[in-house]
Amino acid sequence: MTSAELETRGWHLSFERMVWLSLSLLLVLVPHAPRMPAWISVLFLVLAGWRLYAVKTGKPLPHRYIMGAVVLATLAGVYLSYGTLTGRDAGVAMLAVLAGMKIAESRVLRDAYVVVFLGFFLVVTNFLYSESIPTGLYMLVVVAVLIGSLVAISTEPSALVPQRQLRLAAVILLQAVPVMLVAFLLFPRISGPLWGLPKDAFSARSGLSNTMTPGDISGLSLSDEVAFRVRFDGEIPDNRELYWRGPVLWKTDGRTWTAGESFRRSKPIDFARRGSPVDYVITIEPHQRRWLFALELPATIPRMATMSAEFELRSVKRVRNRMRYRVRSYTDYQIPWISRGELTEGLELAAGTHPRARELALKWRRELAHPRAIVEHALEYFRDQPFVYTLTPPLLTRDNVDEFLFETRQGFCENFASAFTVLMRAAGVPARVVTGYQGGELNELGNFLTVRQRDAHAWSEVWLGEVEGWVRVDPTGAVAPARIESGMEAAIPRTLGPGALNLQPSEPVRRAWRSLRHSLEALNNAWNEWVLGYGPERQRRLLNQFGIDATDFTRLAVWLIFCVLALLAGTSLLLSRRPRTRDPAIRAYRKFQNKLARAGLERAQGEGPLDFAKRVIRTRPDLALQVSRITDMYVSIRYAREGGDARILNRAVAAFGIQ
């Protein structure tokens, strides 16, 4: 029999331990519950509840054939629910089911450990769905409960009541934080994935695509999800210059715009620039596509990215993880060249579409000589006619440009951009649609800009000849200037509360709400930068500041081990401190002892206070009065029935001094 077996002989799964185990698994499964079919949650509750009842009443475990049958049935159930047993969602469901089964059949110490370890794994699976701060905090609590379970199952016998077990778990968690931080910062980071990820590893997240159909962008505009965050080195440009360039669309079938094929280069394209550059770092949320966004017009290309002739930035790999990149842009620019292919492509329209729009455009072409005049005229047309900028335009069923231009006249940026580009092409002015984001919310606390999905935008670029080149024209700005100058919120006010009531919050409430949201946003940004987005790149830059070369893994490992050992030594010292006693009399007496010890009079092991006092008085008769007074007081407080006042003792000790 090994030592461990001998020492754990007689271990049994008590009701209290069972409660610990079931409760910790229940807590870790709660966030999963809405993501799983209801029967799995019910099954887990039934299994855990049944086992608790069985432990309480001393009922035996069911026959293992019955348990085996239940396992097979639930596996079949998972397969039926998900159509697979692998992948993220089905995998989590399997783990949840297994955890329930393990609880139901737990008997020995090993089973209890398996349950707790399963619990830790289930904590990790939660992070595959959410990495937000609330998730992190909740899981910290769950981890504390799981560690409390470890105390409960391993400590035998125990004077520790459950509250103290939980407290001990929390204390050890706190003591573990410094080592964790060091490991987090110094552990050599490599970027994953190491192997293929399940297809459903990242649920589809909304974002711009490389096509544009009416309804695409207005669909996004309801989403508060963050697209990317921008930290500027210098001043933040004016809102009306914040055009974040994304996919450029050339081709149209009359309804949907798509990108053409274009040559991609790794060297930045030269263009005429004026004014000072804008330098900034973008932290982009994973959107599963390759687009990277940059302020118009980017003059540099981030690492691992390319640039097209239309100045679109594309990542070499899909943006699967939060990614940071640095770009330099010039907001005052000119693109004074066009290829022959672009010249023809920029005038193409799908055959037989938009007859009324073409007619209008041809009229303008006949009347006006210069392309710039045509552009001005078109913008005037948008301003003069009763166009309305709205998030919920009426459904366009026939020719969507004609219908929008001449009948409904209500639309979102995509309708304006698409109609304007069609008009330009019909009038003989080469034009293209540019999609991306416009504006962003300034966060004064963090001095950064948050660009959300609802800031998605579409505008046009027209070719105005060799001198002016490609010029950005935003027809939405002609209709709703607030959209461009102050952002989405100003253009389409949001309402709090149910839409039917249409409650308009008062100004102070709105301001308070805004500042709260900004603080949260700043916190989120720090969390994203330092916790979620801490990868090889960030590690390298951080450690460089301390003169550590993060690419040298051996060096890094040495640093890591050194720091961890140093911290552990510190923690060990902390643990070996004498505990602070609650008894004020003992505390005061210890202080008294320490004062004497400094004078070379140390109390021997096992020497009683009275004997000690006698010995002290023998060597230092001058202290006799004080020493005997303090000792008498201490002894009477501690041992005599009538006791005494510890505060008086404390004062006497404080006044006690040795020359």
Partner: protein, 336 residues
């Protein structure tokens, strides 16, 4: 060798042992932690399993580039490391006092008294004290005590081991261990404990006490007729002769009183190794042991004669102990 052992005798810690314990092996004070009683620490198999689980989590964190999975993995690893410190702290600094045990008869129980001193220190939980019933047995007959220790407290533990053979029975090595707080690490501290319990032979044999010699004469004395002066009662102690039990009182459920007789006019007994009707040394020693107890119980003065050892006539507790000790430590090799 046995005599050499009995020379060292000084009770440093007053324990439950009585005056007779002066001839048992010395007690001691042991501090856990500093040399030579180092505290060792190693992961348990659950600790190794935990390490594997953490490895899997780390791979997951790398693969999914999941920041929070990194945080959790490192947090749990740190928790395990800190728990190692706690396991060490749970043992280190403890002081163990072992007091001299009372002699026991073979076949009864040897009791070793430990005091575990935790004064001036924080509480300790789930301590295991492992000891060996019979240090010479090939199969490990180990016993384990579980205990908690409050802060600033002293705990007394009694370790009971079957007294198997006469002679000195060592307590053997004690192992203090703990798997506190999480059972991922086991800290342990083996202690070489010198304490030994003197084990008297098992009192056995049905041979009647030899005849008493008249005062002054050792030979052809008459056997005591039991008509000595009655001196009172005392409680039964193992080894008392059943003939002296006051059976009427037993019938009245008044405990087990033993009649005492004043030996003022009793003759002296000579208990001789050669007088026992057996050829087996152990049987002879057991019979002698029985006789010593009977004679002592009856309040006789008696002398003991063993090959190589003579104990002059005497009576009382100290004399009885001297005789029993001579029997306990008798070795055939010492016969000359």
């Amino acid at each position: 060798m046995n005599t050499a052992r009995s020379v060292r005798a000084a009770a440093e810690i007053p324990g439950p042992a009585d005056a007779t314990s002066a001839s048992t092996r010395p007690p001691g004070l042991y501090a856990l932690g500093p040399k030579p009683n180092r505290v060792y620490i190693l992961p348990t198999r659950y600790g190794y399993a935990f390490t594997l689980a953490l490895g899997a989590m780390l791979l997951g964190a790398i693969n999914y580039n999941n920041g929070l999975a990194y945080v959790l993995t490192f947090l749990l690893a740190s928790v395990a490391l800190v728990s190692m410190l706690h396991a060490n702290r749970n043992l280190a600094g403890l002081k163990l006092g072992v007091s001299a045990p009372k002699p026991a008869f073979a076949g009864s129980t040897a009791r070793f008294y430990l005091s575990i001193d935790n004064r001036g220190q924080a509480a300790r939980y789930a301590l295991n004290v492992r000891y060996r019933y019979d240090p010479d047995a090939s199969d490990k007959l180990d016993g384990v005590h579980h205990t908690d220790l409050a802060a600033d407290a002293v705990a007394r533990e009694v370790i009971e081991a079957p007294a198997i053979r006469r002679g000195f029975q060592p307590l053997g090595d004690l192992v203090f261990s703990t798997r506190f707080p999480f059972g991922l690490f086991r800290a342990w501290c083996p202690l070489k404990i010198g304490a030994e319990c003197l084990v008297y032979p098992r009192p056995e044999g049905r041979q009647a006490l030899p005849a008493r010699a008249a005062a002054g004469t050792r030979e052809n004395g008459l056997r005591g007729d039991g008509r000595d002066d009655f001196a009172g009662f005392r409680d039964y102690v193992p080894g008392d002769s059943p003939r002296q039990i006051h059976w009427k009182a037993v019938a009245r459920e008044q405990g087990l009183p033993v009649k005492l007789f004043s030996g003022a006019n009793a003759g002296e007994l000579l208990l001789r190794f050669e007088d026992v009707n057996s050829t087996r040394t152990e049987a002879r020693l057991s019979q002698l042991c029985r006789w010593v107890l009977d004679a002592d119980g009856a309040g006789f003065r008696y002398a003991l004669s063993l090959p190589g050892a003579e104990i002059p006539p005497g009576d009382g507790e100290v004399h009885r102990h001297a005789c029993l000790k001579a029997l306990a430590l008798f070795s055939s090799g010492a016969r000359s």
